[in-house]
Structures are given as C-alpha cells and as structure tokens.
C-alpha cells in the first residue's frame, strides 16, 4: 500500500506503526537493562526518585486504601449476614485486599499520579532541550533519567501495595469493631487464616511488574516527546492511559499463571 511519499508499507500504515512502536519499546527496555549493568550507578537520583514515588504518594494511598477497606466491609456485610456468616468478614476482606484490591488500586493510583508526572517531566525536559544538554555534556541522560525512574517505580510499588493493604485492613477492622465489637487479635487471626505465602508473593510480584510497567511507559512517552508543549500534554496523558490498559492486561495474565501453580 503506497503512502503519499511513494513509500510502500509492509501491511498498512497503522499496523506497520504498531510493530515499529512495539520494537522501539523492546529496544527501550533492553537499553534499560544494559545501562543498569554499567557503573557507576546513579544512587542519589534513585533515592530521590524513590522518595518522589513513595513518600509523595502516601497520602493518596492512605486515603484510598482506608476508604476501600471500610466500603468493601460495609458492602459485604449484608450478603454475609443473610447466611449468618458475618464472622467470615475479616477473611473475606483479607482475601480481597491482599489478593486483588491492594495491588490493583495501588497500581492504578500510581499510574495516574506517578506515570503522568514522569511523562510530563521528561517530556518537558525533552522539548526544552534539557535532555540534549545532558547528552552534549557527555552525561548519559538515559541512565540518569530513565533508569532511576523505572528503578524507583519498580522498588516502591510493592512497598506502597503492602502499605495500602495494611491501611485497608485497618479501615476494615474499624468498621468491624464498630459493628461487631470484634477484638483486634481475633480480627487478625481470622483475616490471616485464609491467606497464604503464595498470595502475598503473587501480589508482590504483580506490584513489581506494575511498577516496572508504569516506569517504562512514563519514561518512554516522556523521553521521546515531540511537538512542543502540546506534546508534553500528550505524553502525560498517554502515560496514564497506556499504563492503566497494560496493568489490567498484566493482572489477567499473571493471575492465570499463578493459578496454574496453585
């Protein structure tokens, strides 16, 4: 199929474009791993970025996690009550939070907050030639900007997920205590009776993958931003949308794989 410059596409403009982008992303990821093995590492920047990703997301994660725990408990109570099974509430909440809600909610919040911020920051650095300035001063911008940000999201997401799970459980306990006057010890015993090590491990692995995805997408969209300030907006937006889309696909795939090992 010829295009307007006379060049022929292999399949069509869109499909060719998709495969080109896909191979670009694979190269981008490959470059990340290659740069990671090279010394010296940018430890200070990694710590700074981890602080940005982790500490600055705490308030949002606390609020969302707590409300998720309270609301999920409140919504589940009537159904369990019908069978006289309120005592199963802690187990139900723990299973839902640890196995699914905490990793997914944390990842979606971070995709919105962190992903957009990385996309916009790197995008604005690209259009204002700050990335070029690093390159001409013989500092590797990829290693300094991309590796540290992907590293930070990959490290911090599992930590934020564990924190979100803890806060959700506390929200749930508060609601259960106010309604059923269950003691904290009983709540914890019941909650963890149905949770296995594999459940925790699978959530941590998923959070690692989600964190890596958010970092890669945000950095890729930001690092290759074109089109001035409009491009920066597009990069921030695309970082969020693409990350969220990929998170849902990964959630589905990883669950299938983990269920295979159960």
């Amino acid at each position: 199929m010829p295009n307007n410059t006379g060049r022929k596409y292999l399949i069509s403009k869109r499909i060719d474009g998709f495969f080109t982008s896909f191979s670009d992303v694979i190269n981008f990821i490959g470059r990340f791993f290659k740069e990671t093995t090279k010394r010296p590492l940018e430890w200070n920047e990694l710590i700074k970025q981890s602080y940005e990703v982790g500490y600055r997301s705490l308030l949002l994660i606390t609020l969302t996690g707590f409300i998720t725990g309270v609301v999920f408990t409140k919504q589940s109570r009537p159904s369990l009550s019908e069978f006289g099974a309120q005592s199963w509430l802690p187990s139900l909440v723990a299973i839902a939070v640890v196995k699914s809600l905490a990793p997914l909610v944390t990842a979606l919040i971070c995709a919105g907050k962190v992903g957009s911020s990385i996309g916009a920051e790197l995008g604005s650095m690209r259009v204002t030639e700050q990335i070029d300035a690093m390159e001409v001063s013989a500092v590797k911008p990829f290693k300094f900007l991309v590796n540290t940000r992907i590293g930070a999201t990959t490290i911090m997401l599992p930590m934020l997920m564990l924190y979100a799970a803890f806060v959700s459980m506390m929200g749930s306990y508060l609601d259960i205590y106010m309604n059923e006057q269950t003691s904290f010890t009983t709540f914890i015993e019941q909650a963890f009776s149905k949770i296995t090590f594999l459940d925790f491990a699978s959530s941590i692995i998923r959070s690692l993958v989600f964190g890596f995805t958010i970092g890669v997408v945000g950095c890729y969209k930001g690092f290759y931003t074109t089109g001035g300030t409009q491009g920066v907006g597009r990069a921030a937006n695309a970082s969020v949308v693409t990350s969220m889309f990929l998170i849902f696909i990964e959630e589905m795939l990883i669950l299938q794989i983990i269920n295979y090992f159960r």
Binding site: E129, D132, S137
Partner: protein, 256 residues
C-alpha cells in the same frame, strides 16, 4: 570554503565537507562545507529555518548527517562509538538557545552536574572552587543558590555558558545567544562571548540572525542560505555584495 588549502585544514578544529541533512522531504542542509580555525569566533548567519541549529547539532553528535563528513578535533563524529563521542563532547561546549538549564536543580547543582560526573576525584572544595570560578567569569556569583525559574533570560544564558565552561571546552557552540534578549543584555552576552574566547582560549561557532551579535563577536562570518553557504569572510566583506538575498537580510536587520 571548498577551496581551503590543506595547510589551512591542519589548523582547523572543525572541518565539514559536503554535508547533507534532510527531515523527510525537507532538505535542510545541502552540501555544506565549513572550517573553524583554532582560536577564532565564526558566526553562522542565516534566516530562521535555514538549518543553522541543525549544523551545530550535527557537530556535537546530537544529530547524524545523511551524508558528508564532520571532523572535530581530528575525529570523524559520525563514526565514533558512544564512549569516544562522549570523550569528544567533553571538549565541546554547547550553549542552547533557551539555555536548557535543569529546572529541578539550583544554579550550583546545574554547574556541579557535569563536573562531578566527569571528574570524580575532585574534592568538595575543588568542586566549589570550580563553580565559583565560572560563575565569577560570567558575573553571576550571587546566583549560586537560585533556581533557574528565578533568573532572567540573560542570566539564564550566562549560567548556560558557565555550565559549559566548567568542563573547560576547546570549542564553543552558541545557538542564538542573543535571541529574545533586550539590546543591553544582548550587548552583555556579546561581550561575554568575546571574554570567553580570550580567557578560555576557545574556538567558537556562533549561530545567529542578529547582525549586531555577528559584527561584535565574529572574526569571520559565513552566510547560510537555502541549506548552503553562499558567502564567507569578514563582516564587512560579506555584506559588500550585490547578491540580493544577502542584501535583503542585511537591510531587514538594520532597518528594524
């Protein structure tokens, strides 16, 4: 400039031959030939969109040419490996049109950023001394703790120059150093360019469409039109011409 003799080339720090660069169907550079000699300020004049910035981006290895050769300090830029290119880049200072200061860092951090990464054996005191020296050279010692957002356009340009000087480059590339500045600040920047040449013994390419800048800073002026150099020489000789394209550029600038 095609007829540059070999003995002259020996003294040249940048030698460009038959350089072509296009972006899609837009042919920006069409057979550019250029020499920059040791210790001179060469001004590249031309209208916006004639490929002036593209030219210095190719010299610094930010862009790759479609064809032709770019030789900087005896090294063929396009054929260098990443490590070799980075070694060469340490000898090239690039002052960006919009300064390109890292806006999340203070002025001090902007200056320390390239220095601590390339000279890891420097003590904290030596780093501070190097920063103070270049800030003093651009007359902005007091701005050390400020953020780029707190600086004026002229101050940002000066800090941008200071950031390149901290690595003590042999070649300076200035991309539109006076663009967007008022006449007084422009005059200060022109003075700074000449001071840098004297103090740091640099050879410079100054990309501009500002004729005052060209006249004040240029030892030699080259006129880029439609992707190729049409005239070069002293400022006076370039504009003593019957070529309407050059005359119109001159008339437009000096009647503004």
């Amino acid at each position: 400039m095609n007829s540059v003799a070999n003995h002259k080339e020996k003294n040249a720090v940048v030698v460009i031959r038959d350089l072509y660069k296009a972006f899609g169907a837009n042919e920006v550079l069409r057979g550019v030939n250029l020499d920059l000699y040791h210790g001179e300020n060469l001004v590249v004049l031309g209208k916006s969109g004639t490929g002036k910035s593209v030219l210095i981006k190719i010299i610094s290895g930010l862009l790759k040419p479609d064809s032709g050769t770019v030789n900087v300090l005896g090294k063929e830029v396009a054929s260098l490996r990443e490590r070799e290119l980075n070694e060469l880049r340490l000898k090239i200072g690039f002052s960006f049109q919009a300064s390109a200061l890292y806006d999340s860092m203070t002025v001090r951090e902007n200056l320390a950023f390239p220095l601590v990464r390339h000279k890891r054996n420097l003590s904290r005191k030596q780093v501070e001394t190097a920063i103070d020296t270049v800030l003093d050279a651009v007359g902005l010692l007091r701005a050390k703790r400020q953020m780029p957002s707190e600086l004026s356009g002229g101050q940002k340009k000066r800090i941008g120059v200071a950031r390149t000087l901290i690595l003590q480059p042999e070649i300076m590339l200035y991309d539109e150093p006076t663009a967007g500045l008022d006449p007084i600040t422009s005059s200060d920047i022109n003075e700074l360019i000449n001071e840098v040449k004297e103090k740091y013994n640099t050879s410079s390419i100054i990309i501009t469409h500002d004729l005052t800048c060209a006249k004040v800073t240029g030892d030699r002026v080259a006129m880029l039109l439609d992707g190729t150099f049409v005239k070069e020489g002293s400022f006076q000789s370039v504009f003593e011409t019957t070529d309407e394209r050059i005359k119109s550029f001159y008339d437009y600038n000096f009647t503004q």
